[in-house]
């Protein structure tokens, strides 16, 4: 089970992308737990996931959020702007999986 957390200001636009990513994972018969949260919930949630992807509009928080995520030894990376805008579930899922893989 891959655990991926998405994070933006209110968890609204990232939740749209989550849907696409889950669809893609289903297609690949991959077991995943992907959820979107607003930054306010970051600290409560981050411990339950293996990687955090940020909406590009909150990229400026990366350093701070990375510090909080480092306690759990996981990475916080912004999503590519175009992938985000085009809601490319497959590309973003690949990105998340590669981050989890490289972090091992």
């Amino acid at each position: 089970m891959k655990k991926i957390m998405l994070c933006c200001s209110a968890g609204m636009s990232t939740s749209m992308l989550v849907k696409k990513m889950v669809e893609e994972a289903d297609k690949r018969a991959l077991e995943v737990d992907i959820k979107a949260f607003g930054v306010a919930e970051f600290e409560q949630q981050v411990g339950n996931y293996e990687v955090v992807l940020l909406g590009p509009q909150v990229k400026y928080m990366q350093k701070d959020l990375q510090n909080k995520a480092s306690i759990y030894g996981i990475k916080v990376e912004p999503i590519n702007m175009m992938d985000y805008g085009m809601q490319k579930g497959a590309a973003v899922l690949d990105f998340a999986l590669s981050l989890i893989e490289n972090n091992k």
Partner: protein, 441 residues
């Protein structure tokens, strides 16, 4: 143009981004914002009650149903007002708990304890008790700045005491639950021993209690927050940050919220008293005239994109139009893209500023009803505008006019961008690869 643009981008990246990061992540700004988010549902539902109290019919209506409703509202005014009074009317209670609880997270303190500590602190300074009666005069918008300051003060004090290990220490055999209940004794005592004397001192010196003093201090600021320059400046900051790909609205609303809330409560009080609604710039104005379809008012643009000849833009338009109706426009902003796209800089910044000016004057001249209700920001523009003004029709028309001007202003830039993409598609024999691929995917 291109060197000017690259200069602009480098200024944004080197100067503005770190600054926005610093402000946007400043712990008080984020705590205030998150605290308001916690308080919001109460205020939205409370505001909703206004419709039952002041149904959207003219008092001389001849329609039987409307007459009956108006009569019912007059007969039961007090009972109908109760849910409103205990939500909007005591908004500072929710805000004081919410902000302290959010700030507590920054200090790894227990949010519930911090919230209660802040509530007590707020009541100490803002709720004068006379003859067994609490005055609620400062529980509404008038007490908002006091609630914020007290929430910050009490939580910081709690954090300071905890950091320096100033607490009642019990032997390790004592169960943790019991120990925890003793741990909070000193912070409570510290809050009582500092805030209460301060309040008494200020009352003796100035003849007014703390919220009165604070309100008279910030009065010029509150007044300034409801002017056209303030509107334009806040929109400009938000748009420029967003253009750089930074969530500017998060920062601007974090700062504007206390002012908007204070002004909204004044508007509601005026409505209840049957006098003219004084304030123009409150949350509903921002959400439903300036952010129609999200920041930059991109919903009209989404409609334009949907019919574009360029496959990429058509795809983005179709993908973005439904979320756009609920004011979520990241697909449009990042997908078109508008962010960092020099072609869209001008309309993206100017559209909300032009709409702000038009709406401001329309409201100022009394042509359009003013905001009296708290609405969810995800409500579709015209409906939200009407809801915010107690279901008046004029705001809906105003919002539709703003949508038309947005479409007109975006149109030439959209066409220029479309041409660029079409040239690319035609010039490229393997048709603009990634773009069309994803469009068909």
């Amino acid at each position: 143009m291109s060197s000017l643009y690259s200069k602009l981008i480098s200024v944004i990246e080197e100067k503005i981004t770190p600054m926005a990061g610093a402000v946007g992540q400043q712990k008080y700004v984020t705590s205030i914002r998150d605290g308001f988010i916690l308080a919001l549902p109460f205020m939205i539902v409370g505001s909703f009650m206004l419709v039952f109290i002041f149904p959207p019919f003219s008092p001389d209506t001849t329609w039987g149903f409307a007459r009956a409703w108006l009569q019912f509202s007059i007969n039961h005014r007090e009972n109908l007002m109760l849910p409103f009074n205990f939500s909007m009317g005591i908004m500072t209670i929710f805000i004081s708990v919410g902000v302290a609880a959010s700030l507590a997270r920054h200090h790894a303190l227990d949010p519930l304890t911090s919230g209660m500590l802040s509530l007590m602190g707020f009541l100490l300074v803002a709720a004068p008790l006379k003859d067994g009666q609490i005055s609620v005069a400062y529980f509404s918008g008038q007490g908002i700045f006091t609630a914020l300051l007290v929430a910050i003060y009490t939580t910081e004090l709690y954090a300071l005491l905890k950091r320096n290990n100033i607490t009642i220490r019990l032997p390790p055999e004592v169960p943790t639950g019991v120990a925890r209940s003793f741990e909070i004794l000193i912070p409570v005592l510290a809050v009582v021993l500092t805030l209460h004397p301060l309040n008494l001192f200020i009352e003796a010196q100035l003849g007014m209690i703390i919220p009165e003093a604070i309100m008279s201090l910030v009065k010029p600021l509150v007044a300034a927050s409801d002017t056209l320059p303030a509107i334009l400046l806040s929109v400009l900051v938000c748009q420029i940050l967003w253009f750089a790909g930074i969530h500017g609205a998060l920062i601007v609303t974090g700062i504007m919220n206390p002012f908007w809330m204070a002004n909204l409560s004044v508007n509601q009080a005026a409505m209840a008293a049957g006098t003219a609604i004084p304030h123009i710039y409150v949350q509903g104005f921002w959400d439903h005239y300036l952010l129609i379809g999200g920041v930059g008012s991109t919903l009209p643009l989404a409609f334009l994109l949907m019919r574009s000849k360029a496959v990429h833009l058509r795809t983005i338009g179709r993908m973005g139009v439904v979320p756009g109706m609920f004011n979520i426009n990241e697909p449009i902003l990042f997908g078109a893209p508008i962010i960092m796209n020099p072609l869209f800089f001008l309309p993206f910044v100017l559209v909300p500023m032009v709409n702000a000016s038009m709406a401001y004057f329309a409201l100022d001249f009394g042509l359009v009803a003013r905001v009296v209700s708290m609405t969810p920001w995800t409500t579709p523009g015209p409906i939200g505008a009407s809801w915010a003004a107690n279901w008046a029709l004029s705001p809906m028309i105003m919002c539709l006019i703003c949508m038309v001007t947005s479409a007109i202003m975006y149109y030439p830039f959209f066409k220029a961008f479309e041409k660029q993409l079409l040239d690319q598609e035609a010039g490229n024999t393997n048709p603009s690869n990634s773009v069309t691929q994803s469009a068909t995917a």
